[in-house]
Amino acid sequence: MTAAADIQAARVAGARLARTEASAGQLPTAPPGARRDHLLVCRMVQPGSRVLDVGCGDGSLLALLRETRGADSRGIELSRDGVSDCLAKGLAVIQGDADTDLENYPDDAFDYVILSQTLQATRQPRTVLEHMLRIGRHAIVSFPNFGHWRVRFELGVRGRMPVTENMPHSWYDTPNIHFCTIRDFVGLCRELGATMDEAHALDAGGQPVRWHMPWWFWNLFGEQGVFLLRRG
């Protein structure tokens, strides 16, 4: 199967899942101020699951998962301030590094391992993803799409490294060292033999790009990709 066909299949499955859940009203009313990509991740998580958020920042996604999904929420975060914020929220978060600490977790320790807007900042994205698929029965990955038309415009027309709302850093001080496009990510999933249960592209406003659009449209107009994966 080609990458395009893969995406198409996953998108159809994802859209179907999203539709059924929305109609069943399984996600309680979204708390005000919750990020759209966070809400999308919440929808992917079955209630009562064990969840590990890698690079969980101040713990807002974990807290949301706990509140809306009753998830047993754990996290790893690099920054001390982030960990302190999480502990103050009553979350079991440890200070650590996605690149070095995942290997210490046993197989199948979690139902979902989440990497939200962190993939591009890891030193070894492939290894990180492999560990996620090993530790969790599912992996959820969201990342900024380097194939978005504004990025292409900045690079292709203006000849500058792009600085956008989603990627606010200048090239010299960015923590993001491994950008990829939605197509690149799909390619990696195929290499790892991961199954894509859901794939979404979110536009600049965080709204899902309409699912029936062709794949090149996603890679051009999706500001970020959100994927639900599992081992092959």
Binding site: S84, L87, A88, G90, L91, I94, G96, A109
Partner: protein, 393 residues
């Protein structure tokens, strides 16, 4: 009265503190021996403790605070020997992270200590003299067993939280490993699941200093009315350096002279740091028993939680129901962060619910006893969240 008379009075006070402490004490008779790892049944024996706050109706709000090497039960109230405030008065009290308005806080002197729990300075009922070296060697697990018998006697089945730093943290880990169902939440701070070779080495230097003092008298100094002041002071001076950090020492003392502007070309305490250490050694001797120092340092040396689980630390916590909050400090070289990380990895592998933060501080190992806003904030967050899950108001 000469200076020595004053000190001797304090020594006499210490002696009575060992048998008749200025705090509540639970006494266990010959029918309730304390089974020690050394294979000895200690009886009769006693454990001295302090409590703060009120136990609630369903006995679910008890917090056990475990003290470090030279600490005692006076965690949040005036120390009867030194006259100084409690050693963790910054963390334990009304409105503080361990809020005595909400929680019933218990802190007990460890077995082998010298503040009222049975130890080498206590009177041996068989002879009427102090036990001295006739006292059996004790371990961290013995300390925890003794605490568990006290907690039983206080009518508490399950502790809401067990918290402690350094050797106190070792007891926290031992509690969680030995009595997982009795520990709802655990906060081991600046500690390790085993004592490192370097730390055993430092302790050995301290013990040798005590035993090299001619006034140690093979441990029988109390009978002979003397005390190994110099040896114990040197042990404390050496140990005290390990509780600090190079940057903190430099910030506090630098190369500043003490009450002078130039070197005296003698072995006087020319430098402020020398004078500070001598003071630390001297004051310690007045409040601590030398044999107790030998026993309690030895208990730390023997601590290796993985050992009783086939060398695999994760097994000590397999399926643990306890929620953990582990903390370390960046400049702590006695119990460095790598030890806490190993513990966190083991807890994770065992499926435990664990939070971990390394706190930025230049104050070394002692940071856990000092004003550290990040420590307080994290402790408050963790305890409040755990209390909510436990249904405590």
């Amino acid at each position: 009265m000469t200076e020595h008379d004053v000190i001797d009075l304090k020594v006499a006070g210490r002696r009575s503190e060992a048998d008749e402490p200025t705090s509540p004490v639970a006494r266990f008779g010959v029918d309730e021996p304390l089974r020690l790892d050394a294979g000895v049944d200690l009886a009769p024996w006693q454990i001295a403790y302090q409590t703060y706050g009120e136990l609630n109706a369903d006995r679910s709000n008890a917090v056990l605070v475990c003290h470090a090497l030279t600490g005692d039960q006076h965690v949040a109230s005036l120390n009867p020997v030194t006259g100084k405030p409690g050693w963790w008065q910054s963390l334990v009290g009304p409105g503080l992270p361990i809020d005595t308005n909400r929680f019933f806080v218990v802190c007990a002197n460890v077995i082998g200590g010298c503040m009222g729990t049975t130890g080498p300075a206590s009177s041996d009922p068989a002879t009427g003299r102090a036990y001295a070296l006739d006292f059996p060697l004790v371990t961290i697990r013995d300390m925890v067993r003794a605490q568990a018998m006290l907690i039983d006697r206080l009518g508490i089945q399950s502790l809401f939280c067990v918290i402690g730093g350094s050797m106190g943290g070792m007891q926290v880990l031992q509690w969680a490993a030995t009595y997982p169902e009795r520990v709802f939440a655990a906060m081991p701070i600046a500690t390790a699941a085993r004592h490192s070779a370097q730390n055993i080495a430092f302790h050995e230097v301290g013990r040798q200093a005590v035993m090299a003092d001619p006034d140690w008298r093979r441990g029988r100094y109390l009978d002979e009315g003397v005390r190994p002041r110099k040896g114990l002071a040197v042990a404390r001076m050496g140990a005290h350096i390990t509780y600090l950090s190079e940057p903190a020492l430099h910030r506090k003392f630098g190369r500043t002279f003490q009450d002078r502007h130039a070197p005296t070309f003698s072995f006087d305490a020319d430098f402020q740091i020398e004078s500070y250490l001598r003071y630390q050694g001297m004051t310690f001797v007045e409040r601590f028993d030398a044999n107790s120092y030998l026993y309690v340092t030895r208990a730390m040396d023997y601590f290796d939680l993985a050992e009783e689980h086939g060398g695999v630390l994760a097994r000590a916590f397999k399926g643990t129901p306890t929620r953990f909050c582990v903390m370390s400090f960046t400049s702590d070289w006695l119990f460095p962060t790598v030890e806490s990380r190993a513990l966190v990895h083991a807890l994770n592998a065992g499926g435990g619910q664990v939070g971990f933060v390394e706190i930025e501080s230049d104050k070394g190992h002692d940071a856990f006893l000092l004003e550290e806003p990040t420590l307080f904030a994290a402790a408050r967050g963790f305890i409040d969240a755990a209390a909510a899950v436990r249904g405590l108001r």
